[in-house]
Assembly symmetry: C2
Homo-oligomer: 128 residues x 2
């Protein structure tokens, strides 16, 4: 459609952890992100700052000045990211056949009884 087909730069795993925080709260400052993940991942605030700038460079998030600091906001929707990553996996490992992935999960017992019921219900709903 538009001329610049901005293929979104790939988000690394550490960067993704930061994105999760932003998706969770909508917006956050560097300090807030750190508060949310630094302990769990054993990161310093400096690390979070680096990740945030890289995400800005990759145009995955936007900054909005607030006094001397920035408020960061996701530019890509979580659903899009999740969809993209899922698709990558399915393409790479299951020849693009999503059903094969489900089959695999089922066969390796990665799906509990509850999971199975849940999926069943889902299918019923979709099939209406």
């Amino acid at each position: 459609m538009s001329k610049s087909e901005e293929r979104p730069e790939r988000i690394s795993e550490a960067e993704h952890a930061v994105m999760e925080v932003l998706w969770d709260r909508g917006t956050a400052t560097a300090a807030e992100v750190c508060e949310a993940v630094c302990e769990a991942r054993d990161w310093s605030l400096a690390t979070v700052k680096t990740l945030l700038s890289r995400l800005v460079q990759k145009q995955a998030i936007a900054t909005q000045p607030d006094g001397r600091r920035f408020i960061y906001t996701p530019l890509i929707a979580r659903a899009d990211y999740v969809g993209g990553e899922s698709r990558r996996l399915v393409d790479r490992l299951f020849g693009g056949r999503a059903a094969s992935l489900v089959a695999h999960l089922a066969q390796t017992e990665a799906l509990s009884e509850d999971d199975l019921s849940e999926i069943e219900a889902l299918l019923k709903e979709l099939k209406q």
Copy 2:
């Protein structure tokens, strides 16, 4: 169980392409691997050789001398790799709930009518 809990080193994407060839034919020489993927990925034989040695280092494949060359064999099963990668994705993006992944695929229409039927059949079989 055993004392040395060999956490398998991560296999990169390029390395994975090589693994696929080995999984496909069971064993292969460097030249054979190249024959199978060099054109498609636009690689030189040297690249394949590098990837093979890295895979040996990572203990993902084994070598067996045959004259002056090696025959390479996978040490890890494809199913294990696929399972591990799938689990990683589910853990990272769906909080470990595989059913959420299926729900996502269904909702984003990554699943066709046929896929749905196929999964349905699968579930029926598993539920017996």
